[in-house]
Symmetry: C2
Subunit: 323 residues, 2 copies
């Protein structure tokens, strides 16, 4: 086992920081380290917090962190942000109030930008969660923003998914589009001191009653006012309820196994995509095909099938070797 | 050329409807038809309308349709919607006001659900745009919702991208996250009769002045009140300005060629992904690997590399055949 893997398993934060930076850069040593420490993961519990912009997700994360730190648990926070074309980095404005935790060695905070990702949660986030887990962190909070694939991607890392909503964000139906209701384990209507909070909670409860998504677990719909901490203790207790439900029902291991399978399939696709993109620069046949497609000599989809047919990538038989 | 291809090129709406249904079902005849008609495309102009929920995109599309129909141009409208887990279909509530156009044979309307897509714009939307184009429709309006990959995916079909914003949607910075500023050709601050519209327009203009995204085209920032049609004529004139800019600068052909290349690469990836998913059920080696990954005998990423190494899909040399 490499030095960094050993130091990571010993819980050294500097090793964790270094590994994450290596993961972000796609360093091959990071992959080797992840392989070495993989068997030591599975102790941490991961809570995903997602929802539209302005729902107060960062404030909820901040308050949960403060509450849970009192119990002595160590916490890892991963904030997944879309990137601004202006700053060139993740938008950190929301993170400012996190600063009070930066001096606490029991809290590890990292932001990840999603720029250039094809959709879903960046694979590096899954590796980061596993790295934090291997480093012995007890509770991992992953925050994602936006309505769409990145938001839904939270299910691929979280044991418990918390969906935060803002009563002022307009139509609850709009907010609940895009499959969010299928992944939510706990709903939080934040900014409960504002107009419409009770109505929104009632509307969500009503929609949940019409649904048959999870007959075993009924997602609670909570009201919080995160900026002054109201409702956070109740929220934490509901997260623990969900954890207990998953553990006692045996769903936790099933869910985690399914996540690992999905992550494997996504990794295969990602490596294939990367190889394809690499060939765009180097494969004369591919370059010629691209010119034909661009010049309307052939249509994109037919050209794709033909390219795969004349190419080892094309095989759809498990045992075929370039036939 | 098949009968349906001929009827499509003759502008028959029933052929168009049937082709689109075939495209949605992944019918192989649809692919053959698209190949046959591909050379007849490129006459239509495509405008994408995107932005967060509640920005009034459907109303803008409705008003643009009414205005442009007066000039005699035919119009195709494609509404790309996230799917509700409750309805099982695209959410059509926003489309109700479109109904007045359903009786107009010069307007063709179709909704597409994005459910189960890995991110970006579903490929079927690109094929639909091309089918509408081949059928002789003059102007194609594609509306997408959401902040994220589906929203950014609009760039893959639109000649002109219109980003609609709601002055009440909160922080402009939040709304403009996720790379939207890089793809916008025209900004519309809709609901200009509400508080904050002027400030939002000023904020966007300020951000644009700081940016160097497109030195040749400065995206105009327009105020509209779409529900009563205010600002729509100006909007249409700005869209035409952008079209003239693209045509005279030669960018239109470049952009369209680039889109076709990107669509080809996405089709290759999609076919590979589909083949991989098919194997999950049928390839004993893959099934065994998935069990190993799930049971933590190996980590997902290393397993992915190993699977590709022992498999024809793994080749990253253009000329390799299963070596």
């Amino acid at each position: 086992m490499s030095d960094i893997a050993k130091r990571l398993l010993a819980g050294e934060q500097r090793a964790l920081s270094r590994l994450i930076t290596m993961l972000e850069r796609g360093d091959p040593e990071a992959a080797a380290t992840m392989k070495a420490v993989d068997g030591y993961t599975g102790r941490a519990y991961t809570v995903g917090i997602t929802g539209p912009p302005g729902a107060g997700k960062s404030t909820i994360v901040d308050q949960l962190t403060q509450l849970v730190r009192k119990t002595g648990q160590t916490i890892g926070i991963i904030a997944v942000d879309p990137t601004s074309p202006f700053s060139g980095g993740a938008i950190l404005g929301d993170r400012i109030r996190m600063q009070r935790h930066y001096l606490d060695s029991g809290v590890f905070i990292r932001s990840v930008a999603t720029r250039g990702q094809a959709g879903g949660l960046p694979r590096v986030v899954k590796s980061m969660v596993r790295a934090l887990d291997a480093a012995g962190i007890d509770l991992i909070l992953v925050e994602t923003v936006g309505v769409g694939q990145t938001e839904l991607g939270i299910i691929s890392v979280a044991d418990t998914v918390l969906v935060a909503l803002n009563p002022e964000s307009g139509d609850a139906i709009q907010t609940l589009k895009a499959g969010v209701m299928e992944i939510a384990d706990v709903y939080v209507v934040n900014k409960a001191d504002r107009d419409g909070a009770d109505q929104m909670a009632t509307a969500i409860t009503g929609m949940l009653q019409m649904s048959t998504i999870s007959p075993q677990w009924s997602p609670p719909v909570l009201l919080t006012t995160a900026h002054d901490g109201q409702g956070i203790e109740d929220l934490w207790s509901r997260i623990q309820d969900h954890r207990n439900f998953l553990t006692t029902s045996g769903s936790l291991d099933d869910r985690r196994g399914t996540k690992r399978k999905r992550e494997f399939l996504e990794a295969v696709e990602e490596v294939l995509s990367q190889r394809l993109r690499d060939r765009v620069e180097s494969d004369p046949g591919l370059i010629a095909t691209l010119e034909e497609v661009s010049g309307k000599e052939t249509d994109p989809y037919s050209a794709a099938l033909e390219y795969l047919d004349s190419h080892p990538l094309s095989s759809n038989k498990p045992d075929a070797h370039g036939t």
